[in-house]
């Protein structure tokens, strides 16, 4: 409540009350959104096991307003991609993302979802940010539940900084461009470039 009360605008200016009102609305909306995120789990690999552990009683995702797992994208707020994503699943996750109503957020959980991980090969998407926009990347192989919880808290922080009125901080739909891509080909190639040990690896042997 603190930042709503503190005032920087001069009281008496014509926009004073309107500005206060917008901030109050943003505060209320963002608190509601952040504290009742319904996750859509997209678990494809071992990260999904850690996600299940996070959701279960010991780490208890429900403490952060994620009590309800939405197994329908129509009722979900945050897509958690837990695990590697092959190219064959790329249109699937894109369609799930498109089916989610605004506002929606994406957490990329684990090394494979974020960068392709150790799977720098013909079958694997090198980072789901080439397919859908990602808000929080959780590193790890797989991340521990604490790591995922930290990522979720970072997402809370991000949501609380958003605004319905400020175009810069508003969430807009990000459709694919006319070529059916999210990023330009040059950006995708740059994101997907090999790094680390896989720079020297060209064949399977």
């Amino acid at each position: 409540m603190k930042h709503v009360i503190e005032t920087k605008e001069v009281a008496g200016s014509p926009n004073f009350h309107l500005t206060r009102f917008e901030k109050l609305v943003d505060w209320a909306v963002n608190q509601s959104r952040a504290n009742s995120l319904w996750p859509m789990p997209f678990g494809t690999a071992c990260c999904a096991i850690e996600f299940m552990a996070t959701a279960a009683s010991r780490y208890d995702l429900a403490r952060f307003g994620m009590e309800r797992q939405a197994f329908s994208p129509r009722q979900a707020d945050v897509l958690i991609c837990a695990g590697r994503l092959p190219f064959k699943l790329a249109p699937v996750i894109r369609r799930i993302y498109d089916q989610m109503p605004q506002p929606k957020w994406v957490i990329s959980m684990g090394a494979c979802a974020s960068t392709g991980g150790i799977f720098d090969n013909y079958a694997m998407v090198q980072g789901i940010d080439t397919i859908v926009p990602v808000d929080v990347y959780v590193p790890g192989c797989p991340p521990r539940p604490e790591g995922l919880l930290y990522g979720i808290l970072l997402l809370h922080k991000k949501i609380k900084g958003e605004s319905l009125f400020d175009a810069v901080r508003r969430r807009d739909e990000q459709p694919l461009d006319e070529h059916g891509l999210r990023l330009s080909p040059a950006e995708i190639d740059e994101i997907s470039e090999p790094f680390g040990n896989s720079v020297h690896q060209f064949r399977s042997a």
């Binding site: 249109p91 369609r95 090969n121 013909y122 080439t130 059916g180 997907s192």
Partner: protein
């Protein structure tokens, strides 16, 4: 050495190539490609042999370019608890073609599709020879061949572009979708595509 190998040599003569025992103790016998289905049928149906279970079909391509591409059929006689490995040698530079064994084992259907998908071996007489792991429109080649680059032939941007423009539903046969009865109501292009594949026939009851 598995005594079956002697039986094979006596029955099929020069269609049986070299035979030996692999490091895991299983007998391996190399068969000429054009007699493969006869040999496997004999192994399955001869009472004393009864290799009724086809465990796996796979293929091996060696880095040594002189060596042939090997097609591996792993068989098991369930009643006798005996295994046999049958191999067919194909020229990796030439046409990779061999008879399908789906008339013998219905389960060979997906195994052969996988070998076709990964190695490009064409199984003559297969009822539904489509890719099974990669999507149907995958155009980069056969990923497990030695001349296939690890990261694929296309750029990452092109791969993402092709993947995002794939229709996920287009990769299933009628049987997989369990909509065989809805066939007549489908759009014309889908009907045309499915006509190439199996129609999801229900086996007649005895």
């Amino acid at each position: 050495m598995n005594p079956t190998v002697e039986g094979l040599k006596a029955t099929f003569g020069d269609a049986i190539g070299r035979a030996g025992v692999a490091r895991d103790g299983l007998s391996v016998v190399v068969v000429r490609a054009d007699r493969l289905r006869d040999v496997l049928r004999w192994l399955k149906d001869t009472p004393g042999q009864a290799y009724t279970y086809l465990v796996d079909i796979t293929a091996v391509e060696y880095r040594d370019r002189e060596r042939p591409l090997e097609l591996v059929y792993q068989l098991r006689a369930m009643g006798r608890k005996t295994d046999l490995r049958v191999k067919v040698e194909l020229d990796p530079q030439g046409e990779l073609a061999v008879d399908s064994v789906t008339p013998l084992w219905a389960g060979a259907n997906w195994l052969e599709r996988e070998v076709y998908d990964m190695f490009g071996v064409v199984f003559a007489g297969h009822p539904d020879l489509r890719r099974i792991l990669m999507w149907e429109t995958y155009a980069e080649g056969y990923p497990l061949r030695k001349d296939f680059p690890l990261r694929g032939r296309f750029s990452r941007a092109e791969q993402v572009h092709q993947a995002l423009n794939t229709n996920p539903e287009a990769n299933y046969s009628l049987e997989e979708l369990s909509i065989a009865e809805a066939y007549d109501g489908l759009p014309a292009d889908m009907r045309e595509r499915l006509r190439r594949g199996e129609r999801g026939r229900v086996p007649e009851s005895e």
